[in-house]
Symmetry: C2
Subunit: 344 residues, 2 copies
C-alpha cells in the first residue's frame, strides 16, 4: 500500500481579489504508512463552497486560514480504503473535512458514516449535507417565516438558496429568489416552485425586486451581500429577521468600498424597523442535524424539495471550479468528482 500516491491541491499564494489558477498548486505526494488507530480515506466527491475563498486569506474567520503550502479545506464524501481503527471497516461510506485531495489519513475524529438511501452519494454534500442544514437551520431557527410572509434569498439556484426557498414554501411563506440570468430565473419558478424570480443582472433589478415584494420583506436570508443587500434594505419590514450565513459578493474584496459610510444609516434602520440580524454557521446548529435529516428525506421523497448538482470532473479542475463558483457560473451545488470510477 505504501506505493500509493496522493494528488492534492495546496494554497500556492494568497489571492488578491479574485483567486487565479496560479494561487493553487497540484502536487503528488506518497500516501504514508497507516499507523494503528488510523484509517485511510479515498475521496469520491469534494464539495466546493464559497467559504473556501475566505480560508485563503491571511485572516482569522471562523478558524485559522489555510497556510501557504497547506491542503485546501473542504468536505468530501469518501470510502474507507483501509482501516486500522475498530470503529471503521473497509468500504464504509463517510463524510469528512479532509480537503482537496485524493487520499487522507484520519484517526476517525470528525469522520461521519453516512447513509443517503436512494440518493446519490453526492447528496451528502448538498441537499442532505452542510448546505441543506444551513438553509434549514438559518431559515427556521433565525428567519422563522410565518405563513403569508415574504422570504427573499439570493444565489437562489445554489444549494442553500434553493433549499431556503423551497422550505419557505413548505412553511406557507412566499418565496422570492434572486439569481443571475434568465435560465436560472426560469428554473426558480418551474423547477423549484418560487413565487417570483429576479435576475440581479437586470438594470432595473432593484425596481423588479420591489415589485416582487409588494408587502415588503419579512425574512432576508443573507448569503451574498453586495448590490442585492443594497436593494433589499429599503424593503425590509418592521420586525424582519435576517440570518446571515454568507457574503459571497465580498469574499474577493481586498479593500473597503468607497463611501459614503452606510453603516450608521443601516443601524438606524435596525432601530427604527426593529429588525434582527444574526450571523451563523451550520456547526452552531449541529444539534438540529437529525431533525433536519428526517425532514429533508421526507420532503425529497414527497417531491417538495428538489435540487441540482453541477459537477466538475477531476481534482485538477477544482481551482477553476471554485473560481467559477465565486463568479456565479455554477448552476446548483458544485461537486468535484475526484474518483468517479468508484463513486456511485
Amino acid at each position: 500500500m505504501n506505493q500509493l500516491s496522493n494528488r492534492r491541491v495546496v494554497v500556492a499564494n494568497r489571492p488578491t481579489g479574485e483567486p487565479k489558477p496560479s494561487d493553487f498548486r497540484l502536487e503528488t505526494v506518497p500516501v504514508p504508512e497507516l499507523e494503528d488507530g488510523k484509517i485511510l480515506l479515498r475521496t469520491n466527491y469534494l464539495s466546493l463552497d464559497p467559504y473556501m475563498r475566505l480560508r485563503m486569506n491571511d485572516e482569522k474567520s471562523y478558524t485559522a486560514p489555510v497556510p501557504i503550502g497547506g491542503v485546501m479545506d473542504g468536505e468530501v464524501v469518501a470510502e474507507v480504503s483501509r482501516s486500522r481503527n475498530p470503529q471503521f471497516k473497509e468500504g464504509d461510506l463517510v463524510s469528512a473535512y479532509t480537503g482537496w485531495q485524493e487520499y487522507a489519513v484520519s484517526d476517525g475524529q470528525g469522520v461521519r458514516k453516512i447513509n443517503v438511501g436512494n440518493l446519490p452519494q453526492s447528496a451528502a454534500l448538498g441537499v442532505l449535507g452542510m448546505p441543506g442544514l444551513t438553509a434549514y437551520t438559518g431559515l427556521l431557527l433565525i428567519g422563522q417565516p410565518k405563513p403569508g410572509e415574504t422570504v427573499v434569498v439570493a444565489a437562489a439556484t445554489g444549494p442553500v438558496g434553493s433549499a431556503v426557498g423551497q422550505i419557505a414554501k413548505i412553511k406557507g411563506a412566499r418565496a422570492v429568489g434572486i439569481a443571475g440570468g434568465a435560465e436560472k430565473c426560469r428554473a426558480l419558478i418551474e423547477e423549484f416552485g418560487f413565487d417570483a424570480a429576479i435576475d440581479h443582472r437586470a438594470p432595473d433589478f432593484a425596481d423588479q425586486l420591489k415589485a416582487a415584494c409588494p408587502k415588503g420583506i419579512d425574512v432576508y436570508f443573507e448569503n451574498v451581500g453586495g448590490d442585492v443587500f443594497k436593494a433589499v434594505q429599503p424593503l425590509i419590514n418592521d420586525f424582519a429577521r435576517i440570518p446571515v450565513c454568507g457574503l459571497i459578493a465580498h469574499y474577493n474584496a481586498s479593500s473597503r468600498p468607497q463611501g459614503p459610510d452606510m453603516l450608521p444609516e443601516f443601524m438606524k434602520q435596525v432601530l427604527v424597523k426593529r429588525f434582527t440580524i444574526r450571523g451563523f454557521i451550520v456547526s452552531d446548529f449541529a444539534d438540529h442535524a437529525l431533525d433536519f435529516y428526517k425532514a429533508m428525506i421526507e420532503w425529497l421523497a414527497a417531491g417538495k424539495v428538489r435540487y441540482r448538482e453541477d459537477f466538475v470532473d477531476g481534482l485538477e479542475n477544482a481551482p477553476d471550479g471554485l473560481i467559477g463558483l465565486l463568479k456565479g457560473k455554477n448552476f446548483g451545488k458544485v461537486i468535484v468528482r475526484v474518483a468517479p470510477e468508484t463513486a456511485k
Copy 2:
C-alpha cells in the same frame, strides 16, 4: 374653567443638524371646554428623551413626525384636573404621552394611572418608567447576559444606561460603562457600582475600552452609535448580542458620513463572529411591564438600583433641555418641572 390657558411648545422649523432654540416656539392657547367622556390633564413633569430629536425630522421613524406647528411629543406625569370620564376622577395621578404642554384634553386612551409608592412622581418617567423598562427588556430579553460575561453600555449615567449596568451586575455580569467626563465616570463606579468606567472624550478611549474588556464584549447595549460603536466593534465576541435602542450620536446628522463604506465589513463581522443585532423600542415589550415593575421596585428598595434625575425648571426651558441632552450635558434622567408647585 374655560378661561384657563395652556402654554405649549410646538415645532417651529425642522432642524438641520443640532436643533436651535428657534426651531421651537412657545405659544399660549385657551384650554377648550371639556366634552363628555374627556378628561383634562395638568402636566406635573415632562420627560425629555433622545428619540424626540428624530420626531422633529420630516421622515417616518416609528411613527409620523411631529408636524410643523404641532406640539412636541413626550411622556408626562400629570394629574387629572377635571374629569367627565367615569374611569378617571379628579386628582388621579397618571402618565400619558400628551407632549410638551401644561394641559391636555384626553379621552383616556393611553392614559395610565400610576403608583410610585415612596418614590417621587418623576420616577415614573425614569427608573420606573420607559427608560427603566427599555433597559430591563433590552438587556434581559435580547442581551441575555450570563454570569461572568461582559456588558458594555454607553451614555451610562443616563436613565437607560445606568439601569442596564446595574441590572447586568444583578445578573452576575461584569458592567463596563462609557460616559463623558471624569465626574460621570466616578459616579459610574461609586454610585452605580459599575466594574469599569471609560470617558469617551479621552484621546485613547478605544485603548481604554479594550483594556477594560480583557475578555471582549458579550453584550453591547447600543444607545449611542458613533465613535463608541466603532471602538466596540473589534471587541465583540463570538455569539455576542447587541440590542439597539438608540443612536443619539446620529440624531443630528443631516448627511451620510464620508467613506469608506464600513457596512460590508460590519456584515462580515456579523457572519464571522455570529453575533446578533436587534433593534427594539420599549413598546414592543409592553407585555413585560408588570414583571419589570415588580423587579425594579424590589431592586430599588434593596438599594441594588440607584438613579439620578436632572431637572429643568419650567416648560419654556424644555428646548434648551433637549438641546443639552443631545450634547450629553445632562447627568441622569432629564425631567422638566412643568408645574412644580403641584408636583410632589
